[in-house]
């Protein structure tokens, strides 16, 4: 049968029903009239002709029905009827409908929100042309110190890659962005600068909407200073002025020429506000693995070729690195850019998706239980329909349609809830946490929600639908006792299942919470109370000169110490809880003489240790006399002393750091930091060397560290001071009016920032666990409540016969408690296997953590007791006389 006429008739039959009916009526009447005409022409009387014509016709209504039965879309028509009937059923039980829709909205909402993130991270192609030809370079190391992940590179590696790997065109960038001050005409704003090499944007395939990309000359060390703005910065700060190209703006206190503007939505992995040329070199920044690379396959080349060329080109470097890492196997490989960028977050997102899936299952179990109860209540209605001639298929179809109707409404509400949840989620993430341009609620997400809703309705509708097949007409019509033992067992099994899943989620959250508590309660090694910190960018031409830098620190700390209530002020390159600069030192003394070692390095002004109250274990602090012309001195922490000097006192020993030899003058306690050296946990203590800010004589070093780090001004106050931040800003302005602080922080803010990932994990999994717990509690509650409702009469009789209220209540609560207990046992068994995957995100806590497990048992017991007790209280109100009279 041809498709189009069919569709046309179907639409006509559905929507133009009246006109279709009228046409049929007219047509049949005309037929009869024509027969009458014939008969009259043959000589019959008018009334006789009509009588014969109609009787021959065989009944106009019957013929009409026969035509209707053959119409296209007849099945659609009955489905429409079923839907209307279903809708009436839904409206008649608003409580049931609301429960189902709310449960679905929460479960589907959670899934929609998490899936949007999975979709954006793992399924959406990056917004670049031919994204499958874009890649990142990873390093694979096997041996005592295995590693598999992104490989940063040095200036030398970059030159080799650029010149000797013909299969790809490569671009490099700084690691992440740096906050800098932008001044142009009347604007002064704090923006994030991403530094990129000449062909970086060509590799991505992003082309300026006005202006041009960086040239090779601009990418040479000391080349012309040029900047490319992102579309949003151009619009917001420069009102989209098209004449901006070629004009000068001041960045970091230096003039830069604006050469281009990226298109609207022009996205790069750095996601910066503006871009400047990286100007890579073999020394300074390029002396370490500080560059990040992206590559694009050239036409006709493939990834195998590229991998082979990269490994050949970097063979020398690979051999050195392999030796340093004691590696048994060492190679580089390219991986798709998208995969490379989501390597860290991808598995976490998938774990969350799994948790969300558990919630969907829990919701299904609950809804199946609810629908089962509802079915029991409707047994008589169903039996009546069967008795009146409806087929079992017809009754089942009716039930399925009701389920789909509810699932549709729940799913729709779920998408709404999901959208809100997603907004909440995204606001939880720090800036640039997700390496994607946006998290859209696109067709794929909506499709997923639809499939999830339909799947849910199938899952929760399946059991009741099977139950219909067992409805026995005679007993159902006559009997009032409806609680079948089999159904109760089925519901208990459902509850046990959902409790088991809840236990797994609960245990997972417990472990994450315990980890966060562990990290937050690590002894910090300093006194955070009463300390205020402010950051400013010294990535500024005026402070490349060590003397100017020294003057700024001296005068600004002195001005801050004049603020009433301030006991001491200091500056440090980095603070506890923060990421730290790494440097290498060579020992010129002691058992490690001549050896080179990596250490964390922090420059500090004399009051640094007194502001933070970091205790001295030996020796002295820096003083004003530790100046540029004095003997170089350093202070080391306890971890440094332990590692390199063992039990000996390191004070008085010497080491070489940079050009000069420095004397160790003091030993301080360890503080918690965010490691850049050998990160095993988000917070840890590590060997650290402090050196006086006043003894930095190398302008190159000063410039470089301030590209990477923003130093902090810290003050200790003896009392709370509400105007402190304003006073600190004014103190700074009295020394340099053009140097704004980029922000003020308490030490707890810094701790929160460092532990942001852990907090987000706890918040996300915690929210989902809460949801699971709520749903499970509802499930237990509904089970017990329905048992109470069904057995009111029996309980009335029991009490009348002398049973105590307590015994009656216990007998009703037992099924709920039993299924919860079975679920707990099952869940703990599941945990044994499921939680092992969490090992990588746990710190200071084992996978089999007794406090967490006790917490799980306690919470679940509490919830079970509440969920079973509340419905049983209704029994207390039972009046035995009233229930007996009902008989």
């Amino acid at each position: 049968m041809r498709l189009w006429p069919r569709i046309r008739s179907q639409l006509r039959n559905l929507f133009l029903k009246e006109s279709v009916e009228r046409r049929l009526d007219d047509e049949l009447r005309a037929y009869v009239e024509m027969v009458v005409d014939e008969k009259r022409a043959a000589g019959d009387s008018a009334s006789e002709a009509r009588r014969v014509a109609i009787s021959d016709f065989g009944g106009i209504e019957q013929v009409k029905q026969a035509v209707r039965d053959h119409r296209t879309g007849q099945s659609l028509e009955t489905i429409w009827q079923d839907m209307r009937y279903g809708w009436r059923q839904v409206v008649r039980n608003p409580g049931f409908a609301a429960t189902v829709i709310a449960t679905l909205a929460l479960a589907i909402g959670a899934n929609t929100a998490i899936f949007s993130i999975v979709n954006a991270l793992l399924l959406t192609k990056p917004p670049y042309p031919q994204p499958e030809r874009l890649g990142a370079i990873f390093r694979h190391v096997e041996g005592s110190d295995p590693y598999d992940g992104p490989s940063g590179m040095t200036g030398e590696q970059w030159e080799l890659l650029r010149d000797n790997v013909p299969s790809v065109i490569a671009g490099i960038s700084s690691r992440g962005t740096n906050g800098v001050n932008l001044e142009a005409a009347e604007h002064a704003v704090y923006v994030y600068d991403g530094r990129i090499s000449a062909h970086y944007l060509d590799v991505l395939g992003v082309h300026p909407v006005i202006g041009r990309n960086f040239t090779e000359a601009e990418d040479q060390p000391n080349g012309p200073r040029a900047a490319i703005l992102c579309y949003r910065l151009w619009q917001r700060t420069f009102s989209g002025n098209p004449n901006l190209i070629g004009q000068t703006i001041h960045l970091k206190g230096e003039p830069y020429t604006v050469i281009g503007v990226l298109p609207r939505g022009g996205f790069t992995p750095l996601n910066a506000d503006l871009y400047t040329a990286l100007q890579p070199s073999r020394t300074g920044e390029g002396g370490g693995t500080n560059y990040e690379v992206i590559v694009r396959l050239r036409d006709g080349a493939n990834w195998q070729q590229a991998n082979a060329e990269i490994n050949r080109t970097w063979a020398g470097w690979a051999a050195t690195l392999a030796r340093q890492n004691h590696a048994t196997r060492f190679y580089f490989y390219t991986i798709p850019l998208m995969k490379g960028q989501s390597a860290e977050l991808g598995p976490k997102a998938l774990t969350l998706m799994l948790a969300a899936g558990c919630i969907l299952l829990i919701a299904c179990a609950n809804l199946a239980g609810l629908t089962l109860v509802r079915m029991t209540r409707r047994t008589q209605e169903i039996a009546a329909r069967l008795a009146l001639g409806a087929s079992r298929w017809h009754v089942q179809r009716q039930l399925w349609i009701e389920n789909l109707l509810l699932a549709g409404m729940g799913g729709g509400a779920g998408v709404g809830v999901g959208f809100l949840a997603l907004q909440g989620l995204l606001s939880l993430f720090p800036k640039n946490y997700l390496p994607v341009a946006g998290v859209p609620l696109d067709g794929r997400v909506l499709g997923f929600s639809l499939v999830a809703s339909v799947l849910t309705s199938v899952l929760f509708g399946m059991l009741p639908a099977f139950a219909v097949r067992k409805v026995d007409l005679r007993s159902a019509m006559s009997s009032r006792a409806l609680a079948g033992g089999e159904r109760l067992r089925l519901r208990q099994a459902l509850i046990a299942g959902e409790v088991a899943l809840t236990v797994v989620l609960l245990a997972g959250s417990g472990l994450l919470i315990h980890t966060l508590i562990h990290l937050e309660t690590l002894p910090p090694g300093f006194n955070a109370r009463g300390v205020m910190a402010a950051k400013a960018s010294l990535n500024d031409a005026r402070y490349h000169d060590p003397a100017a830098f020294r003057r700024l620190l001296d005068e600004s700390t002195a001005a801050m110490e004049r603020i009433p209530g301030v006991e001491a002020a200091a500056v440090g390159l980095s603070l506890p809880y923060e990421r730290v600069l790494n440097d290498s030192v060579t020992f010129t003394d002691g058992k490690h003489t001549g050896q080179e070692a990596q250490t964390d390095a922090v420059y500090a002004t004399p009051e640094f240790f007194s502001v933070l109250q970091i205790p001295f274990l030996a020796g002295r602090s820096f003083t004003a006399s530790d100046g540029p012309d004095a003997q170089d001195v350093v202070i080391v922490n306890r971890a440094f002393a332990r590692k390199f000097f063992g039990d000996e006192n390191p004070v008085g020993r010497t080491l070489r750091s940079g050009p000069g030899t420095a004397v160790i003058v003091g030993v301080v306690g360890d503080t918690q930091i965010s490691s850049g050296l050998n990160a095993v946990a988000p917070l840890q203590t590590e060997e650290t060397m402090y050196f006086p800010a006043a003894q930095i004589r190398d302008a190159g070093l000063l410039t470089l560290v301030h590209v990477w780090f923003q130093p902090s001004w810290i003050v200790r106050t003896d009392r709370p001071n509400t105007g402190l931040t304003g006073q600190m800003q004014r103190a700074m302005a009295s020394v340099d009016p053009g140097l704004p602080f980029s922000g003020f922080y308490s030490m707890n803010d810094l701790l929160d920032e460092t532990l942001a990932t852990q907090r987000i994990e706890v918040a996300l999994l915690g929210a989902m666990t809460g949801l699971a717990l709520l749903l499970s509690a509802l499930g237990i509650f509904a089970l017990v409540a329905s048992i109470v409702a069904q057995r009111t009469r029996e309980i009335g009789i029991r009490i009348a016969l002398g049973s105590t209220l307590r015994r009656a209540m216990a007998s009703v609560a037992v099924p709920g408690i039993r299924s919860s207990a079975i679920g707990l046992g099952l869940g703990l068994l599941l945990c044994a296997g499921a939680l092992r995957g969490m090992r990588s995100v746990l710190y200071g806590v084992g996978v089999y953590d007794i406090p967490s497990i006790l917490g799980v048992v306690l919470v679940l017991t509490l919830v079970t007791v509440l969920a079973t007790t509340i419905p049983t209280l209704r029994i207390a109100k039972t009046d035995p006389a009233a229930t007996l009279r009902e008989e």
Partner: protein, 109 residues
């Protein structure tokens, strides 16, 4: 009505209607009369089977219909074969002839 009426074989009705319409457009009564005529009274199509068949075939796209005036100037619904209907008629005629031939030879054997 002829006493020698034979029940219509399944599927024959469609073919007969299309064959009747092969001569030109006709209203329901006309089709009924035409079938009576071409089968020499062997098949009499009653409205109860005629109209469902007409509507079904129109929905399938083999027939199209329009309002017109009958020979007695009565407003009546006329049917005609569509292009798809015409090719369908050819195919079914061929099939029917094959079957009829086969049945005839089978019954003779």
């Amino acid at each position: 009505m002829s006493p020698k009426q034979t029940n219509l074989l399944q599927g024959t009705l469609d073919l007969l209607i299309m064959k009747a319409l092969g001569a030109g457009e006709m209203h329901g009564l006309g089709i009924s009369r035409r079938i009576d005529q071409i089968t020499r009274g062997t098949f009499v199509v009653k409205p109860g089977s005629l109209f469902p068949a007409l509507h079904r075939m129109e929905e399938a796209g083999w027939l199209s219909s329009f309002w017109g005036d009958s020979e007695n100037n009565r407003r009546a619904r006329f049917y005609r074969l569509t292009k798809a209907g015409r090719s369908r008629l050819e195919v079914e005629t061929e099939q029917w002839q094959t079957i009829a031939l086969a049945m005839a030879s089978a019954l003779k054997a």
